[in-house]
Symmetry: C2
Subunit: 324 residues, 2 copies
């Protein structure tokens, strides 16, 4: 066993030695009766259900190793999966991870990736309970999150009703701002550039929304208007967003927008990957949530999302395989 | 929406239309209160626990699209994950799938992959409850299996005791035989060549072993000797396998071995991916299981696996990143 000293690669270390290194010294939460090391792990599901979601990140498509450290990639992969569990009103309890990488990958970078995953999982008290390490031509990180609903009904996308308030917690536009800064080689705005590499979902607020009576919820992964479009379609309603109510987000990215000469409304309305939570409430939203719009009827027309009562003509958000 | 007619690609169809097509018309089992279409799915865990395991398959590393149809790849991906759940004494109830593919992938091939996954999942009554479809330079299929233990204690690798019988159900050496036939361009032995593309794990037998008092269990994914090595290490015992008791497997691949001039003992002892179940029992194994060896003490030396009481000098099994 050659360990993970400077320059040692996955091919030199070997699969089983690397796995031993990735797993060693991690402390599992109490609801994980059996963690890594056997054919499968065992997770407690106290209310007799589990919530499950999966996401795959491909090198040079979802992250770039010249922008992100492996630690950043690990944090992002866990964060975006945890946000999906939050968006159902649950809390992530455990993750399993598939990781493909070339044999010439530095073993210490794989360890850094795992450290980033554990760093992010620790933010919500979850464990990484299993995985698969395989050889492949480029990095692919596939994460599956399991979560607990605490006895609550899952908050789906299909429960929004005309008259509900649309409210949000977390940030919009930061990840997209950061992306444009990286892409243009701008070295200012550290915080925004960091946000593109590692989102900050508002952990715990999915549960808060569920307890407060949210009628629908999703996380902003594709872009605010696209994700509200999913709620509008599933709920057969329209949603109107007010730009005035997004002033805090527009202001936060205005200086960066000026530097790269961009319309920051597009970043805030169409930029994905910040993993804010957006939900609809029949009453006032819980503390910390910001009202950003209103659920409307859709008499006779397609369910749709408008901005200040008119259709938005920019991009609504991300779609895989889109050529643009 | 361009559908999935002849020649239409993922890039032409678009992510959301493809997902609609992959999900349409699938029937979820009763323990899936919420299937695909929201941020996460919800799965019932009747005994308050879930078993979870994940595996990743990379094109040209774990499968070749000139050998396997997309349907075969889907079946294999589900089968090998289900086998991990069986190996704990559980039954797979639900799967989530990450799928990366180039934009020029024919949409009908992605549908065929999903059909293969559903075909295999139907064999055990499980559902495919969610997934992620992303763009990437080659196919990567990442499957996570969830399973139910039915109130039983999971059967781990660490419970084998000296004097236990080692027993097996399912096949050995077929997948490796098929691989060598494909690799050498031999067009006979259809059944063996099929087995390399789609393994046949003995579904339901993990539960049978657990009910019969198996003290340890694993599935043969890396190779019999390698996988028994995991049991021997975890249990701090030695395991001795008798070649005479593997005669059925040796005979089944003997004719193929003669054609490619191979030592079929190596295929049976070191070939992986058949996903037989191997377990240890303090008493007679259950009906259908074959005795193949015995658990021994390891006085003063390393836990180890022997064949007819002597170390085996061939390859014990598969390891990712190994250069050989």
């Amino acid at each position: 066993m050659t360990g993970d000293g400077p320059g040692v690669t996955l091919a030199e270390s070997g699969e089983f030695a690397v796995i031993d290194r990735l797993v060693a010294g991690r402390r599992q939460p109490p609801w994980v009766p059996l963690g890594p090391g056997d054919d499968a792990a065992v997770i407690a599901c106290p209310d007799g259900r589990t919530v499950v979601s999966t996401d795959m990140l491909v090198e040079d498509r979802h992250f770039r190793l010249d922008w992100s450290s492996p630690h950043d990639v690990g944090r992002k992969a866990i964060a975006q999966n945890a946000a999906d569990i939050e968006a159902m009103g649950g809390r992530a309890t455990a993750f399993v991870v598939g990781f493909a990488a070339p044999g010439h990958t530095i073993t210490a970078h794989a360890v850094d990736l795992a450290d980033g995953m554990w760093h992010e999982a620790d933010l919500m008290g979850a464990g990484i309970v299993g995985g698969d390490l395989v050889s492949g031509p480029q990095w692919v990180v596939s994460v599956t999150a399991l979560g607990d609903l605490g006895g609550r009904t899952p908050v789906r996308r299909n429960g929004a009703r005309p008259g509900d308030v649309v409210a949000l917690i977390g940030d919009l536009g930061r990840s997209h701002a950061g992306y444009e800064l990286w892409r243009n080689g701008i070295e200012q705005f550290d915080e925004l550039r960091r946000r593109h590499l590692v989102p900050h979902p508002p952990y715990g607020q999915g549960e808060v929304a569920a307890r407060t009576g949210a009628t629908s919820m999703t996380d902003v992964s594709d872009g605010l208007l696209a994700d509200l479009g999913h709620i509008a379609s599933a709920s057969e309603v329209s949603v109107d967003v007010s730009l005035d109510l997004l002033a805090a987000d527009l202001d936060a990215v205005a200086a960066a927008g000026a530097v790269v000469n961009a319309d920051v409304r597009q970043w805030v309305l169409g930029g994905g990957e910040d993993h804010a939570l957006v939900a609809t409430f029949p009453t006032d939203p819980p503390p910390g949530w910001r009202r950003i719009g209103r659920v409307l009827d859709h008499p006779g027309s397609q369910p749709r999302v408008t901005v200040d009562r008119v259709p938005w003509h920019g991009t609504a958000g991300w779609e895989s395989f889109r050529v643009d």
